[in-house]
Each structure stands twice: as structure tokens, then as C-alpha cells.
């Protein structure tokens, strides 16, 4: 696994249905290969949230409501959040493409309605990615994230989809199955 197994950080809290145009506005999509720049503009179009990425300390954790990352398919959404210094996102639920993109790039996400509701802005959290256990050190509380299907856990352990594809390509090459 590429990411550390236990993360510790302070919480930034967001609401329901935060879409990818708020996470990283399309006007920055032209910088899709410049992760640093994307990080500087992460969450910029969330109303009244300008300058957010400057306030993030590396390792902080983003906690959101339902359907986080809805809207466009842009993979730069999780990339921007990661590049801003966020180590993981916990949400009540994730929009489908954001969910896939995060798993695929090896960015830790956890789904826990209980945690999403109880955690407050600024709470210090300790997240065990392997066990899916979220400890709220500020409130002295603990929440269990939903388990991923086995295949997704395998992808997460490999560090994302790319290493999995690389392995499959090599297997196909070895078996003489590639054109």
C-alpha cells in the first residue's frame, strides 16, 4: 500500500452534494497535468470558501455529507484535494465517478454516515485505513467505515488501478494475448 496505514489530521467539514465544479472549477482543467496548481484552487468555488487551500495543513482530513464529488468526471477533483494536502476524505456517501477515480488513483476515501454526521470542523481524527476505523480524538468517539468489496481492497492495496493494469498487461503479453 502506498499511503500510510494510519492517518492523523484535523477536520475540514463540508455539506451535501459538493460537486466537482466546486471542488476544482473547469477553468483550472487546462492545468490538468499541474498538480500543484490544482491543489492551490481546490474547493475554491464552494460558496464563501476562497483561499481554503492556503489554510490546509498537510495531513488534514476532509469530511463531507452525501453525494460528495457529484457532477463531472474530472479525475482532477480527487487529485486537487490530495494536492492541497488532504490525506483522506470521509463522507456520508460518494458520487460514483468520484468514488471510482479516488480508488483508481489510490487516494483514501471512507464512507461512514455516522462519522460524517458526528464529526465537527476542527476535530482531530485518527483514521486506520486497513480496519476502516475512524477515531475522533476531540470528541472521544469512534466510527466504523463501510468495508469495500474485495476487488477494490486489492486495488487500494496495489496503490490504484494503474499497477493492476500493468500486471494484467504483463500477464497478457506473457500469454501472447496482445495484438
Amino acid at each position: 500500500m502506498t499511503a500510510p496505514l494510519v492517518l492523523r489530521g484535523n477536520t475540514w467539514k463540508f455539506g451535501d452534494n459538493v460537486d466537482t465544479d466546486q471542488i476544482i472549477p473547469a477553468r483550472y482543467a487546462i492545468y490538468s497535468l499541474d498538480e500543484k496548481k490544482l491543489g492551490e484552487h481546490a474547493m475554491e468555488d464552494v460558496p464563501d470558501n476562497e483561499g481554503w487551500s492556503k489554510k490546509v495543513t498537510a495531513g488534514d482530513i476532509l469530511v463531507a455529507g452525501s453525494n460528495f464529488g457529484c457532477g463531472s468526471s474530472r479525475e482532477i477533483a480527487p487529485v486537487a484535494i490530495r494536492s492541497a494536502g488532504i490525506s483522506a476524505v470521509i463522507a456520508d456517501s460518494f458520487a460514483r465517478i468520484f468514488f471510482r477515480n479516488s480508488i483508481n488513483i489510490g487516494f483514501p476515501i471512507l464512507q461512514s454516515p455516522q462519522a460524517a454526521e458526528a464529526i465537527r470542523e476542527g476535530d482531530q481524527l485518527e483514521v486506520d485505513l486497513e480496519e476502516g476505523v475512524i477515531k475522533n480524538l476531540t470528541q472521544g468517539d469512534e466510527y466504523q467505515a463501510e468495508a469495500f468489496p474485495e476487488f477494490m481492497t486489492e486495488l487500494i492495496h496495489m496503490g490504484g488501478l494503474a499497477p493492476w493494469v500493468r500486471k494484467r498487461l504483463e500477464e497478457k503479453r506473457a500469454a501472447g494475448l496482445l495484438r
Binding site: R27, L33, N67, S73, R100, N101
Partner: protein, 428 residues
């Protein structure tokens, strides 16, 4: 136990007899799409992280220059160039240059590249559009696209399916756009999250392929994985002479399973809008009539096909856009533009004081050619209006059908098109 259309296509792709919602599959992809924002990262991931040197099948991929093309600045020029060079190097058969294609989700259906029964992915969230043609089509990110480019296959979770039955017929003025806005208003932007939306019923028989594409286009606005429709005479006629491959339609078994069935009386659907700042902020038009407009935009993969432009032109003919409002019209494809020119629609638009642009995604995503400033209000025929989507996060965007948009541009405020048609056209 029977399967529905979505399940049948995924089962075939995975080489399985049957599948159930929740199953994770590795399935073969029949066709894929990427554009100037998604090909650059996907091609880089494919080469550098996956170690693939060529595309699985250069005849089964479309690459479209549409989002920030013609390039608006040097950064988007670099993306266009990367996309162009890569498509050339890979020998991509269906490469659409600026001036050749248009907006990807209009180009692929009109060129007969996305067909019934197929499993299609596009690196763009509105790839769900193609499902009106009786296929499974879904939007993915760049790493997923890179996986398809490398292997021609991708992992999928078989979705639960929501079935929609539309009874009766839409009334005069009311369009497919109004119907889908009403549906999303009821479902919410989270209501179909990761699920399939299967549209059926009497009302659809009277909705042409363009209207159907408008409906499946917006599946993602309810969070859905895909939107799908049955194969019928309309589908068959649309694909006649243009289908690029032989195809096999699918239909849902009589005992297919659905998580939930929604029934709508199409006759009761009114002219609709989505209010700022979410596609599920449904309101009947009457509730927002009178809202003053700075900009009206008729464009995008949702509502700027030739039928949309014809209906807008019928309202604009002999009338002028309100002096305090600007109207931008962006045709959905070069083919659409060509037809509009041939039919004399451009003259009507210019005489009305509208501006006409090259076919591009442009203003829909706040990209270029019509970005909204702080505090401006826009009525748009596009698909989503989350904060910042079309420009400044404090711009207000309403969504509507193109006839309401054209009429409202004349009035300078949101209005029922029948009100405009009552006014005598002025001589131009």
C-alpha cells in the same frame, strides 16, 4: 430470473450467462471516447503508469476536440496539441478535429458510432447520453479510460435499476427537457446515485431521438451510472444508413428486476426549470416567470441539436433579443451548424441579434465564449447549474428547454413562449 437491458449488456461484456446488482465484473468495452481534457492525462497514465505502448483497438475509440477548443489560451492549446499528436501516433480512426466534429455527445450518435446492445465508456460524465440508443454507456475518469485504452476492458459494479414509466403524451410546448427536469426534481441529484435509469412508456414513443438523448444526457444529474431506453422504430430509423457496425438490440425480460418503479403522467408535466444552483431545484416555469436575464445560452450536448435550433428559430423569427439581454447560440456539432446554415436559421439568429459560435462545449462549463460574471443571471439549455459551473460562483443559472430560452431572450426575462408568440413579429 429475468434481466433488464443494463444487466444483459454487462453480462455479455463479462462473458457471463447472468449477473445481479452488486456483482463486480471485468467486462469488455465495445467503444470508448476521450476529449481534449481527458485524453492528455489518460494517455500519460497509460504510457507511464501502465506501460502500454498502443491502444487496444484504434477503431473503437473516438477522440474529440471540444472542451477548450478552438484553444482559448496557451495552456488549452497544449492540451489540444497533446491530444492531436497522441491520436495521430496511435492511429485513432475516429479523431474529430475542430471544425470537423463538434461536441462529443452529439458527434458520436450522429456518426453512428454508439450502437444498440453495446457497452460504452467515455471519459466525460455526460457519456450516459448514448443510452438513448439502447446501449449501456457511462462516464469514467482518466485512469479508467487509460485502463480501457490499454486493455479494452474495465471493472464495473452491476447497478440496481430504477424504472421510469411515462404515461400519455407531453402537451404543447412541453419537451423532453421539461420531463427530465421534473424527474430529477423528484429524484434529487443523489436519488439515482450509481444506479441505472431505465426510461419506458407511451410518452417516449412520441419523443424523437434528439429528445431522448436530452433525457439520457441528464442521467448523471440524478447521480446515475447510466440511462437507457428500449429499441424501437425511432431508434431503427435514426441508425439506418449511419450505423458504423452491425448491432444487436437488447430488451428487458418481462420478469426483470427493478429496485423501484416510478410512474409519471407526461400529460401533467409543465414547462420546467431548474433554479440556481442545482439541477434538482425544480420549479414550474410559472413560478420563476419575470426573472430578469443578463445572458441566455442555447448550447451543449443537452439541447442544441438541429431540432432544438429549429424550434428556437421559430420563436426568434422576426423578433429581437431584449436590449438588456444577450443570446449566445452554440450548435451541438458541425453537422448541426451545416444544417442550420442550409435551412436559413443563421439569418434568423443574426437578425434577432443573437451571437452564433463554433461548435464547442464553451459556455456550458464556464470554459470560454460566454463565461458568467459575478452577480449575473443566465437561462441556459445545458444540463447542470452547480455553483461556478458557468463562471463566477455567485452567478445564477436557470436551466430550461431551448424554446423557453429563445422566448426569454426576447422578453429579457423568463417567460412562457406562448406569450412571445402572441406578440406581432416586427419587420426586420
Amino acid at each position: 430470473m429475468g434481466m433488464n437491458m443494463t444487466e444483459k449488456i454487462l453480462a455479455r461484456g463479462a462473458g457471463r450467462e447472468s449477473v445481479r446488482p452488486g456483482d463486480l465484473l471485468l467486462a469488455k468495452v465495445d467503444f470508448a471516447m476521450g476529449h481534449d481534457l481527458t485524453i492528455p492525462p489518460a494517455s500519460k497514465i497509460m504510457r507511464e503508469q501502465m506501460g502500454a505502448t498502443k491502444v487496444w483497438d484504434p477503431e473503437r475509440l473516438a477522440v474529440v476536440q471540444d472542451h477548450f477548443q478552438p484553444a482559448k489560451d496557451t495552456a488549452s492549446a497544449a492540451l489540444g496539441k497533446t491530444t492531436r499528436d497522441w491520436a495521430r501516433e496511435m492511429g485513432i480512426k475516429w479523431y474529430f478535429e475542430v471544425g470537423d466534429g463538434g461536441i462529443c455527445h452529439t458527434v458520436l450518435p450522429e456518426r453512428g458510432l454508439v450502437l444498440p446492445g453495446e457497452l460504452i465508456v467515455g471519459a466525460d460524465s455526460h457519456s450516459c447520453t448514448y443510452g438513448a440508443l439502447n446501449n449501456f454507456a457511462t462516464g469514467v475518469g482518466s485512469t479508467d479510460l487509460a485502463c480501457v485504452l490499454s486493455l479494452g476492458e474495465l471493472w464495473f459494479r452491476v447497478p440496481e435499476t430504477l424504472k421510469f414509466v411515462y404515461h400519455n403524451r407531453l402537451r404543447e410546448w412541453v419537451e423532453a427537457k421539461d420531463l427530465i427536469l421534473r424527474v430529477i426534481g423528484e429524484l434529487t441529484v443523489d436519488g439515482a446515485r450509481s444506479k441505472a435509469m431505465e426510461h419506458t412508456g407511451e410518452a417516449l414513443k412520441h419523443i424523437d431521438m434528439e429528445g431522448r438523448l436530452t433525457m439520457t444526457n441528464m442521467a448523471i444529474e440524478a447521480g446515475a451510472k447510466n440511462g437507457i431506453m428500449e429499441y424501437d422504430e425511432v431508434t431503427e430509423a435514426f441508425l439506418k444508413d449511419i450505423a458504423k457496425r452491425p448491432y444487436t438490440p437488447v430488451s428487458s425480460d418481462p420478469d426483470a428486476q427493478y429496485e423501484k418503479v416510478f410512474e409519471f403522467d407526461a400529460e401533467k408535466v409543465e414547462l420546467s426549470v431548474a433554479k440556481p444552483m442545482s439541477p434538482d431545484a425544480y420549479a414550474p416555469l410559472s413560478e420563476v416567470a419575470g426573472v430578469k436575464l443578463d445572458q441566455v445560452f442555447i448550447g451543449s450536448c443537452t439541447n442544441s441539436r438541429i431540432g432544438d435550433l429549429r424550434r428556437a428559430a421559430a420563436v426568434l423569427k422576426g423578433r429581437r433579443v431584449h436590449p438588456q439581454t444577450r443570446l449566445l447560440i452554440t450548435p451541438s456539432s458541425t453537422e448541426t451548424a451545416r444544417m442550420a446554415e442550409r435551412e436559413g436559421l443563421l439569418r434568423i439568429f443574426y437578425d434577432a441579434g443573437a451571437s452564433w459560435t463554433v461548435s464547442t462545449c464553451g459556455a456550458c462549463l464556464g470554459g470560454h465564449m460566454g463565461v458568467l460574471g459575478e452577480g449575473e443571471t443566465c437561462l441556459s439549455t445545458t444540463n447542470r447549474n452547480f455553483p461556478g459551473r458557468m463562471g463566477h460562483p455567485k452567478a445564477l443559472v436557470y436551466l430550461s428547454n431551448p424554446v423557453v430560452a429563445a422566448a426569454s431572450a426576447i422578453a429579457g426575462e423568463i417567460i412562457h413562449p406562448a406569450e412571445i408568440m402572441k406578440r406581432e413579429p416586427i419587420a426586420v
